[in-house]
Subunit: 426 residues, 3 copies
């Protein structure tokens, strides 16, 4: 079994294990998710922030715990939107409710998707006190007349927000940041795909590069407030050391390969992702105007880290996004494996071949090393060795070389590895 196949089996298992938990910005679902990963990599450090703590312009919210929720038709006792059946049914951060009200009044607290009438939407109201239920539009249309009991057994209290950090020290302090988020309930692509890929990459780095050059910082944060909280403590060191960063989001489906560029679109993280995926037929590049995850904080002018986003289908750009259809029907082993290959190739490039350089002053003789044909005939096609080596000038990154040759990063990695074996580059 190839390495990537092996990791894809693990990733899908982890994701399925974690799917049922009800994660949010705070609460036990998120903490349990972090603890699950800590069992795999005990070096994961859980960092906590108390509710009410000021972090830049923001404040850590109350902790939210939810045990159950539904609404019940008084007359028939029929229950709808049962949290225990699907945790998307409750609006995230709903405060506790237990009251009888008319259908009309209830409907003001019900969210549906008119254009996707079979699906339950995912809705939150973190920073404004509110409560509500999410159901399919079709179900809403069929709700019987009469009064209802709305029941939400939740708690909002001064607790804490938790996030995970794992640092793999390298020979040098310059570091590569890989960040993903842990704050959505049962969503597969727009939640679990990123964390499980991160966990696999941690394993890959530890095993593959026993003596890795760069330092790697993996973050598992509740989106927005989590990265802001973390940055409020660590932004100086990140600003000093991060040479490239990657936000992993929606990396589990098989539909596309997407890059969301950094704020200015000119960073090594941009070209690293681009070179890995631009030859895929369903490659899509988005400008920073289409951002949406924690790159919003990492790239903000004051901090301005070189961070880009890697997605398969970009958040917001696949129809299952933020609905009950974001499940293991779209997140697959194959989808996760493809993402693992993309990211592990990028890491391998950083570790081994970032700015390849030849020591030769003119072309080395490749034919004596069997890298070039010995006979000169019309239409003999030689391989790309010479095309690669002429850009191994110490100024072109391996990513730029791939783009220049209009070849994918994995192809270039294979060839450049052979050139290194032959000591033609270093």
């Amino acid at each position: 079994m190839t390495i990537s196949k092996n990791y894809s089996n693990l990733m899908i298992k982890w994701a399925k294990d974690l799917f049922p938990l009800c994660r949010s910005l705070t609460g036990n679902g998120t903490l349990s998710t972090l603890k699950y990963f800590k069992k795999i990599h005990k070096e994961i450090k859980i960092i906590s922030f108390k509710s009410g703590t000021k972090v830049f312009d923001w404040e850590i919210p109350l902790q939210w715990e939810i045990k159950d929720s539904f609404f019940e038709h008084i007359k028939t006792k029929k229950r709808f939107a049962q949290f225990k059946k699907n945790n998307l049914h409750v609006v995230g951060y709903s405060y506790p409710v237990n009251k009888i009200l008319s259908k009309e009044k209830l409907l003001k607290h019900i969210y549906t998707l008119k254009k996707q009438p079979n699906l339950i939407p995912y809705v939150t109201s973190y920073y404004k006190k509110s409560w509500g239920f999410c159901i399919s539009e079709n179900q809403k249309r069929k709700l019987p007349k009469g009064d209802y009991k709305a029941f939400i057994n939740s708690k909002l209290f001064k607790g804490e927000l938790n996030l995970g950090e794992l640092i793999i020290k390298g020979k040098i302090k310059k570091e590569i940041l890989i960040s993903t988020y842990i704050c959505h309930p049962s969503l597969a692509n727009d939640e679990l795909s990123g964390p499980v890929l991160s966990v696999a990459l941690i394993d890959y780095i530890k095993k593959k590069f026993k003596n890795n050059k760069y330092t790697y910082r993996f973050l598992f944060v509740p989106e927005t407030i989590g990265s802001i909280a973390y940055l409020s403590k660590k932004y100086k060191i990140l600003k000093k050391n991060v040479i490239a960063g990657f936000v992993l989001s929606c990396v589990g489906d098989e539909k596309k390969f997407s890059l969301v560029e950094s704020r200015l679109g000119d960073k090594i993280s941009d070209i690293a992702i681009k070179s890995s995926i631009f030859k895929k037929k369903n490659f899509k590049k988005y400008s920073y105007l289409h951002r949406g995850s924690d790159e919003r904080q990492y790239c903000f002018p004051g901090i301005d880290l070189p961070v880009s986003v890697f997605c398969k289908s970009k958040f917001g750009d696949f129809k299952e996004y933020h609905t009950s259809a974001d499940s293991f029907k779209i997140v697959t082993k194959k989808g996760l494996e493809e993402s693992f290959i993309v990211m592990s190739n990028i890491i391998k490039s950083f570790e081994k071949f970032l700015y390849p350089r030849t020591k030769y002053l003119t072309e080395p003789m490749l034919s004596k090393r069997s890298l070039y044909s010995t006979i000169s005939k019309k239409d003999v096609k030689n391989e790309d060795y010479l095309n690669i080596i002429v850009y191994c000038d110490g100024e072109h990154s391996i990513f730029q070389i791939a783009i220049k040759l209009n070849k994918s990063l994995d192809y270039i990695l294979e060839k450049i590895n052979k050139l290194k074996i032959h000591k033609l580059i270093y």
Copy 2:
């Protein structure tokens, strides 16, 4: 009434008042035009150059005065090309003539437009002694046989060339140059539209920004020789202080919004105009190879000021150009108002928001300021506040931000103003 509507009423009035005057490089028509503006803004300084003065490679020409001109069919006494009916009938700078000549010989001095047979062309011969009449092609075809008297009651003598300068001092010496020309007879778009817009902008700056930051230099010059004469005296101070300049030409019609780029096309004046007009459906950008007014002098290598041209329909690119059809049939209140809005937005941008900057290190919390939705649902469209603020890094001008977001400058101005009110940028 909006400010711009108010100015459009004034502009059209001024232009109509001044239309009948026969302006040229020199002479009373031009001087009277300057004096008319001086009544509105007494700070306008009239600067004079004596005929024969050397200015760089050029020489100030003789002063030209014209009282009357026509040609008369001897037999029928019928008069044609009467100056008193339309001052385009006489070739600019014609020397005095009073003689009888055959139709054949007369025709050598008659100019028409074969492709626009109903219109009188505008023709000049400033630097080569000549005389002539301009009539419509249709009229020419119908001229009766026989001898004619050609009569031009003009004078060419050592006099002076006049131009107008108005400086609004700012808090700093860095200045914005706005230049327009006063040397064409009864033409509306390719003459009066620019000066009346300048006069309105002077008023706007004085009233809107009582304590303006930048210094503004407004010039009203006879084209080419006027700007050369002015530069011969002032180029050093302009080279030192001008950070952006705008030539206003043909800004009164409703057909297009045009930018003629500076010599290298990379100046802030280029992007200032572009950001104001690039979202108009009839926007047109011209390279410097299509220049034609005083940017020819301002951008010349030795002086090389950052000057661009703003036009509605660009000189040479509308069919009424340099004909008797360049009248108030094409120059309208609406056309002038649109131009006022473009230029006043640019000035407002310079004065208030040129390089906006946020003091925040991560995203500020916009929802608590009602600039962002408090509920997170699929397909909630938030406004562009965050998209703007991420480029408020002190390095992107407001013009670049508009281009980056693919939004017009007025839209960005409105949003950025709100961000400033909320103290999110400074």
Copy 3:
């Protein structure tokens, strides 16, 4: 007769004289070619390298001499692939053979072109011991059954490799490199066109610019190993002095005008060639990935000279390439003359107008010099003098000016010459 016509007559004569010689990396054919040119320009210096000498990663090969070769059908005594009829019939660097073998075994040593069944291919095996014959596919199909005698009367021995160098000293040490190759047998475009153009250009420079500014270095080298050998001795001085270099290859046909860019495509040699040929309707630009001649060595990262390739039809991109059809059916006087014009215009630009500069601060008055119309009328088209002069700022090369104006270099040369005569630029 124009200068270029005169040179085209000479070039075609030289090429036809030299066509029959059997050139290779080494040997008498190549040496005789050099001596032929030395008769024309006695300053050509022949530089020799002994077989076995290490040059960078390479080694000078054995000297190869060939007197005769063919294969003979034993039964009928019919001879095929007779070297004396066409020197393409023998694989370059074939070792001596004289043996009888079956048709089957012989066929393993026979090269044809299946897609061009009438043509003899050109094949070499410089660095791996081998022997073989080249014939047309049609002839191969008709070879009679039975045994054959293979006969190659060649020698491989410790001898030498020769190359030619001619330096025309200039007023300054900065130099222009012009390199071409002398290692193919009877091929017209992909061999002789380049050297005869070089020889003509040497003559042109000597006669036209008696006191030339730049130093010119002309090289006539066996491809790859020749330039590597030369660079192994001279790379330091070339790295120090070469400001632009041109490899001349396949410059004799009438089909296209091609540029192969330097390694990064941003050198003055790139734009020099481009400006000369980009207005031709059959202009083609290739990136460095399509290189193939000695630019492979000159541009290699360690040395990285600003060298581009000028071709008519690029090597590899015309159907006659490396076949017996590469003859004087495609190389013509007209083709050579067109190339002479391209290269002599580039040289003239370097010598006389590289970075033109005006001394004026505003537009000079062109009408008094009869370079601009004295009358101002709609639709008067003035010539490009002003468009050129505004970019004569000492920062735009004449090549950039041509590109900027979207005009060919010869047009710009003519206009700029006139501006110089009028002392408007220097």
